[in-house]
Symmetry: C2
Subunit: 161 residues, 2 copies
């Protein structure tokens, strides 16, 4: 039942390994425990997807990039592009990930499937107001649209939000 719901909220797209999904779940629990909300797989203006986009109570936007292995991290030559879409950028990695290979000016969450711990706070590099507004709208439309699709799949047939 739970698996089915998860599938409906986010149809599996084959991009995430089991390990990455566990880290994502733990990171989202950390987000919830701080009283914040996170939307997985948010498509950004460039067409890239943020693994988790976080919206803070006062409107700050974070991106959390999930890296399930050293290879996964090394294969991503464009992680710095996410900086243009957030006020703070974090990596979320498994407990056995070598933290010293992560870029210094980013935050670090160490996560497993049950939760996450903040190992390093992310420095703030504030978005300009119109970018933050556009991202907040994008995040809101994504989350509300997914909910609408769950409540009434028929309502979204053939519609692109």
């Amino acid at each position: 039942m739970h698996g089915t719901l998860t599938d409906l909220v986010l149809p599996p797209d084959g991009r995430q390994s089991e390990a990455a999904l566990a880290i994502r779940r733990g990171a989202l629990r950390y987000v919830a425990a701080r009283g914040l909300v996170g939307v997985p797989e948010l498509v950004l203006g460039t067409g890239r997807r943020a693994d988790i986009a976080v919206l803070c109570a006062k409107g700050e936007v974070w991106v959390i990039e999930v890296k399930s292995s050293i290879a996964d991290f090394r294969a991503d030559h464009k992680w710095f592009e996410y900086r243009a879409f957030c006020d703070r950028l974090f990596f979320a990695v498994a407990p056995d990930f070598p933290l010293d290979i992560l870029p210094e000016d980013t935050g670090i969450l160490v996560a497993d499937g049950f939760g996450a711990a903040l190992v390093r706070e992310a420095p703030r590099h504030p978005l300009v107001a119109h970018q933050r507004k556009a991202l907040t709208l994008r995040l809101a439309r994504c989350a509300a649209g997914r909910l609408m699709g769950l409540m009434d799949p028929e309502a979204l047939r053939g519609i692109e939000l």
Copy 2:
């Protein structure tokens, strides 16, 4: 299955009649068909709930109040308070509702469980920017938080977003 999902997205709170739920569904389909998103039962700053809060592509916020009967409309002596929380205010009513009793300066949707038609566009009474920002954040947090609860009920145990 569909019913179960709906229940999980929005636990029934006994406030909405079957007739009101049908109108709400039809109104939400109209919202989706316009490429907009709507969040049902959004709690506002005053503690009141908007039946549907709509977020438009460029950030305009609408409230749609569902009235399932003449009695339901007449019992609501505070509908005008919603105006302070939106750029446009609509009533959504069933096809047999007498439209001439609705306030003139509001929009009208006539809805059933399958969809809705716009009978009268709502006049625009723009929010000031900081109010719109606060409402957008509230709507985003509500939708994303409900999604988080669906994906991982454990994550939100004891947490108030």
